[in-house]
């Protein structure tokens, strides 16, 4: 990532004499910050702070939801600063322009982008601080700074004996000028990158001391539960507020945009009161459809509209018309919930015309807009404190739970914590979209001659712009939030110039074919949707990689070799495919009653191939082994890479084996882990992960483990039973 380092690094002395090195992440400089300038509000930067007593604080602008930013990003700073990662205390960032994700222009953690976007800026920040400390010490000793070095939080004198602690040097260092010409350490000198294996948050998370959103506790805090429309879009018509208000501990019963909130002195009293609450809903604008209608709607749309072309090469139509053999198949996938183990929650405190929020959120600047939307407040009258997240997976990109807490707290004179039940979490989620795929391919003498993929389903961004636009342009007048917000997003280009959530994983089709046609038929049945760990790659991956398997069998070829031959120009794809095949014992005999399946997907810049070994036991699908090969460029923390790929595999297996949210007349039918199960310990397959050695710029690993495992398992079941399953979840008795 090319940039002028002078542009994003600033230095200053802190009030307490500490050295504060602030860094504006690239991509932010052009961002308007009008409203903050007008009010003269101090705007903190992203910064590293070193105190006189040698404490080193690092403000972490990418939230920690399990994926490892707390350790990984700290390691980048530590490497160049010449301190052990464990010597640095990460702090969660407040909302500020400097913390925006340069790819999204929002303060957002998602899309497996944290490491890639931090790789150079954070190392540079660490290096600049180190050099300033060295120059400060050299000035004291009257020696050439080039002769000094830094190690373990100290600057070392050229004589190799004397040294000074960073803390002793911060005041002098803060007077040094940033030169913007610091050289980053060569890979051969790295002490922590590629080697650091410990997690810096493991201790707090093994002792019960890590503070998640649900753990926030404030003086005089009260609790709220919200009853929402059982069908999305329903509005409150009336409710028995007086009756509920008379119940033990109940302080307030109020209508808010999202339903009816009960505030009580204790959480359990709020819950009990909720049992007595009777709400009459107006369903005139509510969704009314059932799951089969969703797919009927999709099929009708697909028949009527061939879709917008997303990639077109050659002349697929005529090639398919003249092929020896044309293979056609339709795939579908259901809505999926996120099921973070920490249910949605947020705590809000309105006092002195200011709203303070504590919440586990993936996008605190969107949270600020959500608060402004439901109160009289402007975004700069809202403070968001981010906590550890008990899982994110995309769910916490949407700020509905913060919106609820703010709406309630705005009318209370005490802090309020809103906690969702598990059932509410399942029924009022925003889901991974249900999707339909129509695939068609031509084979000539066993060679792939044409590939046609029609993707049918909604786009996610449409559900998102209402808060994203104003977050990018916080001075947007409120009455324009819904309209200008959208224009702003398109103008600025969130995520990418267009929403690729429906087509990602399809348009990057890596296999060599001269004639290819990929189209998206847009149809949105109105069921709330959002991003979900690997999103489009999760459904397109299933369609593309299962269909590739079908073609291999139609062509009478080995599914691994069939793919491999079509990857002659894609060395990184081919490398992970070869390694997964080797690791998974593709060419070795399969134990009796088992079969293997293979799949490959590059997502978020990371290449992952997997071989799944599965069988059927007592009427259930049993996954014995998953071998995965991953190329994510330069590895920062090998253990976290393995963990994320393995975690992604189990997440994908949960979807493949169980994941299904269904609707009946607009109502979600699932509620808790008995009817929306997650993979359990006894179902865990043996997972082996092999990482390709690479010096390419690091890419993310939070999501890429998910997509291949779903088709790889389906392909294994086909190899076992001869029956092809084209819809999810997979069944033992298909």
């Amino acid at each position: 990532m090319a940039m002028n380092r002078r542009d994003f690094l600033k230095v200053g002395a802190g009030a307490s004499g500490s050295l504060m090195l602030s860094l504006s992440l690239p991509g932010c400089s052009g961002l308007p910050t009008g409203y903050e300038q007008e009010t003269g509000e101090w705007r903190p930067d992203a910064w590293l702070e070193i105190t006189r007593d040698d404490r080193i604080y690092f403000t972490l602008a990418r939230v920690e939801m399990g994926q490892g930013t707390y350790t990984g990003l700290t390691t980048l700073i530590a490497e160049e600063l010449e301190v052990a990662p464990g010597a640095i205390e990460p702090r969660f960032a407040p909302v500020a322009d400097e913390y925006k994700n340069p790819l999204y222009k929002l303060q957002l953690t998602g899309g497996s982008t944290s490491l890639a976007t931090s790789w150079e800026p954070l190392r540079t920040a660490g290096a600049e601080a180190r050099e300033m400390l060295i120059r400060a010490a050299a000035g004291v000793w009257r020696v050439d700074a080039k002769e000094c070095s830094a190690s373990e939080g100290r600057v070392i004198h050229p004589n190799g004996i004397d040294s000074m602690r960073y803390g002793q040097l911060v005041e002098l260092a803060s007077k040094e000028i940033l030169r913007g010409d610091v050289a980053l350490k060569p890979a051969a000198e790295w002490k922590y990158i590629g080697k650091q294996n410990r997690r810096l948050d493991a201790r707090a998370k093994s002792t019960g001391k890590a503070v998640y959103g649900i753990d926030v506790s404030l003086p005089d805090m009260v609790y709220a539960v919200v009853t929402r429309s059982p069908r999305y879009g329903g509005k409150v018509q009336s409710f028995n507020g007086d009756e509920v208000r008379a119940m033990a501990g109940v302080l307030e019963v109020m209508e808010i945009d999202r339903g009816v909130a009960i505030v009580a002195d204790k959480y359990w009293r709020a819950r009990k009161a909720q049992d007595a609450l009777k709400v009459q809903w107006n369903f005139s604008e509510a969704i009314d459809l059932s799951t089969p209608e969703v797919f009927e709607t999709y099929r009708k749309a697909a028949d009527e509209d061939a879709g917008e072309s997303e990639r077109s090469e050659g002349d697929t139509e005529s090639v398919l018309a003249n092929a020896d053999k044309v293979v056609e198949a339709e795939y579908s996938q259901p809505y999926l919930a996120h099921a973070t183990l920490e249910p949605m929650n947020a705590t809000a405190w309105y006092r002195n015309d200011h709203m303070e929020i504590w919440a586990p959120t993936q996008a605190p600047d969107l949270g600020r807009i959500a608060v402004a939307r439901v109160t009289d407040l402007a975004p700069n009258e809202v403070t968001i404190n981010t906590t550890f997240l008990g899982g994110g997976f995309g769910r916490r990109l949407t700020q509905d739970y913060i919106e609820e807490a703010a709406a309630v707290a705005f009318r209370m004179d005490r802090p309020v914590k809103v906690i969702w039940s598990r059932e509410e979490d399942a029924r009022h989620d925003l889901y991974r979209p249900a999707m339909l795929h129509r695939m068609k391919a031509g084979l000539n003498k066993g060679e792939l001659s044409g590939w046609d993929h029609q993707i049918v389903g909604p786009q996610i961004l449409n559900w998102y712009v209402r808060n994203a636009g104003p977050a990018q342009f916080p001075w947007t007048p409120k009455f324009l939030y819904n309209t200008l917000g959208k224009v702003g997003v398109w103008a600025e280009g969130i995520a990418t110039p267009k929403d690729i959530s429906a087509i990602e994983g399809a348009i990057e089709y890596p296999y060599q074919v001269a004639n290819i046609d990929i189209r998206h038929t847009h149809i949105d049945p109105g069921v709330p949707i959002t991003w979900w760990r690997s999103v489009g790659y999760s459904h397109n991956g299933f369609a593309v990689e299962t269909f590739m398997d079908e073609l291999a069998h139609e062509a009478g070829q080995d599914p691994y070799q069939f793919r491999r031959r079509l990857l002659a120009n894609e060395p990184r794809h081919r490398e992970v495919l070869d390694r997964a095949a080797r690791l998974g014992g593709w060419d070795t005999p399969v134990p009796e009653g088992r079969a293997r399946g293979i799949a490959l997907m590059r997502s978020f810049g990371t290449y992952v191939a997997q071989v799944v070994e599965a069988g059927l036991e007592e009427g259930s699908i049993r996954v014995y082994k998953v071998a995965a090969a991953v190329d994510c460029g330069q590895v920062v923390n090998p253990a976290i890479v393995v963990d994320q790929i393995e975690g992604g595999i189990l997440f994908g297996l949960t979807a493949a084996l169980y994941g299904e949210i269904t609707l009946e007349q607009g109502e979600v039918q699932q509620s808790n882990f008995h009817d929306y199960p997650l993979l359990r310990q006894y179902e865990r397959p043996e997972v082996e992960v092999e990482i390709v050695d690479s010096t390419e710029t690091p890419t993310g690993v939070g999501e890429p483990g998910v997509p291949p495992v779903i088709p790889a398992l389906g392909n294994a079941l086909f190899a076992l039973t001869g029956k092809r399953q084209r819809t999810l979840p997979l069944k033992a008795d298909a």
Binding site: R199, W268, E342, D643, N672
Partner: protein
């Protein structure tokens, strides 16, 4: 109702509705938020604590059932500043990802090892199957429990 509850060795007198789940008493009345709310139905195990030495799902245990009992939570598992061997193993093996389920996982594992110090792999898997982890840390959980059962010395380095 008024009741007495001993938690992590400290006895508390409480006046609380009898059907309040133990979980919310621990978290909101006694200031011990290490025990987590996951499902409210005993399905995920995030709220696991020991009641009179037995693992229970505190989300679905009315506090009256714990009256006069002794409760141990994640905060009281170690002794003073010394971590329980499992907690140290969790750190050494880098088990937690999001970490939300881990208090419950550790409490289940602690009960297993208290009753069966050298469990076989199958026994560990069976004992831990009631605890869900959405991040997929299951294999590191097994490795951490096995390392404690095998009496491996914890790493010296602290995270």
């Amino acid at each position: 109702m008024a009741l007495r509850l001993t938690v992590n060795g400290e006895t508390h007198s409480l006046d609380i509705e009898a059907d309040t789940p133990l979980l919310w008493v621990l978290r909101d009345e006694l200031g011990l938020p290490g025990t987590k709310f996951g499902c409210g139905a005993g399905l995920c195990g995030a709220c696991t604590v020991h009641l009179n030495g037995q693992p229970v799902r505190s989300c679905s245990t009315p506090v009256e059932m714990a009256a006069d009992g002794e409760v141990t939570t994640i905060e009281g598992l170690g002794s003073g500043d010394r971590l329980h061997a499992l907690q140290q193993a969790w750190i050494d093996h880098g088990v937690p990802q999001c970490g939300y389920c881990q208090s419950g996982q550790i409490m289940s594992a602690a009960h297993l090892l208290a009753t069966n110090p050298s469990p076989a792999r199958d026994e560990i898997v069976a004992a831990m199957t009631g605890n869900l982890c959405r991040c997929g840390t299951y294999s590191r959980i097994i490795a951490a429990v096995e390392s404690v059962a095998a009496g491996e010395k914890p790493a010296q380095e602290e995270a």
